[in-house]
Amino acid sequence: MFSDSEKELRIIGTQINYYFICKTKLWLFSHHIQMEQESELVSLGKTLHQDSYKRDKRDQTIDNLISFDFIRKGDVLEIHEVKKSKKMSKAHHYQLLYYLYYLKNKKGIENAIGIIDYPKLRRRETLKLDERNQQEIHNITKRIGNMLKEEMPAPSRRPACRRCAYYEFCFV
């Protein structure tokens, strides 16, 4: 699945996530122009992350690239991602699908599922990698790679911008 040129492309989960949220944010974040350190929402998320599922083995990173909130091993490997709300659920889904995609194509681990935990909502969602979303993920990684070679995409104002850590940067 990975051709030679794609081996160079090291994408992290956050980038897949941002791809669905905002292309400008994705571009800036990928060029290490990061703003999240001052965002209250981000620190809320961090606190949630730190306070949830303390009994599990957490923050596993592989290849210095893919970092899971926690994993559980049983008949299948469960990859967990903890999120605060379902507002950006599409972005959450693809972030997790990307992890499964990475495990399958880079590590040869096929027997894995992804679970998104919403501890505040007391909900969880289970995801599996199939032919269709595997292809989708593949295309997304390619598109991200191309996008990052281009100039920064101009920001466009949407309701979500109001709460974004990049708001002042984008619109000043």
Partner: protein, 322 residues
């Protein structure tokens, strides 16, 4: 949560106990909650433990040191955590490419001049800054920009004397040592703003040593000098007029000698108190349509510069619109 600047005016020791910093001085010890700290300005003689430094570094809090006379000495600039190799390359490229550099250098001169005009027009004083500014168009070398900037300043200082009461005239700029009260205030204020701007730069991915109007070799953090130009009239000069015209600062707040004049402890305290008030004061930002503090305006200026450097939007210097 709004983070605060801490101004340590007395001699003392900075110690860490668990994850809190304490400032010990002759009056006892005072906790400084680290998560609420933005930067520290130290005017007395300060001792600190390496444990305290570890904590400051971890939380990214710089300390700015000022000497006995209130002049800037240097900073504890914690290890950079916000690094962008791509931006650094762009910053250097915009310096090395002469055409690109003079565009940015000119913007700093222009922004500073417009803000000086705003200060004077608030006091309804006619001035010729606009005419001198026209010469900017023909500038090709950095020295020429500096020359225009110098002429604007000289003219501005002349006009400033019209705002100030008798006994408090500036009569030209004198530095190191400042010869009279207004010069003393200006030197003191400028070193404050330099530190404030440096703290803002620290909190962005900009490298503080690559600058455009000032030569990068001039001082360690010359980008702070560049950006300070824009904010000096707004934050320092207006404050000086305010303090003098309201008689909040008087002769007794200064220490005089034959050839110099400096603020004394009490004067410094008054100045810093009002300065900090101004940094915290908010205005409704036209473009962002939300309230921002004056301190935040400096950060926004850094953001605008980043946008210019990465080619997303041409930099326009901040000019007061009120």
């Amino acid at each position: 949560m709004l983070k605060k600047n801490y101004y340590l005016m007395s001699d003392g020791i900075l110690k860490r106990k668990e994850n809190t910093l304490y400032f010990h001085n002759k009056d006892g010890k005072k906790p400084i909650p680290i998560s609420k700290m933005y930067s520290i300005y130290s005017y007395g003689s300060l001792s600190f433990s390496s444990q305290a430094v570890h904590l400051l570094a971890k939380e990214g809090v710089p300390i700015h040191f000022f000497n006995y006379y209130g002049f800037y000495d240097g900073s504890f600039y914690p290890r950079e955590t916000l690094l962008s190799g791509d931006l650094l390359i762009k910053q250097a490229e915009n310096y090395l490419d002469h055409e690109k550099r003079i565009i940015i250098a000119g913007k700093f001169v222009e922004g500073a001049a417009h803000n000086m005009q705003k200060v004077l027009s608030y006091y309804k004083i006619e001035n010729g800054i606009g005419e001198i500014l026209n010469d900017l168009d023909s500038c090709r070398e950095i020295t020429e920009f500096m020359n225009v900037e110098g002429r604007i300043r000289a003219h501005y200082y002349e006009k400033m004397d019209l705002i100030l009461p008798d006994g408090y005239k500036m009569e030209g700029r004198s530095r190191r040592p400042p010869e009279n009260m207004i010069n003393a205030l200006m030197s003191f204020g400028n070193s404050l703003i330099y530190s404030t701007v440096l703290t803002e730069i620290y909190n962005t991915q900009l490298n503080p040593t690559i600058s455009y109007l000032h030569e990068p070799s001039e001082r360690r953090y010359s980008l702070a000098l560049d950006l300070s130009e824009i904010f000096k009239p707004i934050l320092v000069d207006r404050l000086i007029f305010y303090l003098i015209n309201k008689k909040m600062l008087q002769e007794k707040d200064f220490e005089r000698d034959l050839n110099y004049c400096l603020l004394n402890d009490q004067g410094r305290k008054k100045f810093i108190k009002e300065y900090d008030e101004r940094l915290k004061k908010t205005i409704k930002h036209r473009k962002l349509n939300r309230k921002v503090s004056y301190r935040r305006l400096i950060r926004l200026e850094a953001y605008k510069l980043i946008k210019h450097l990465i080619g997303s939007e041409e930099y326009k210097p901040f000019v007061m619109w009120w």
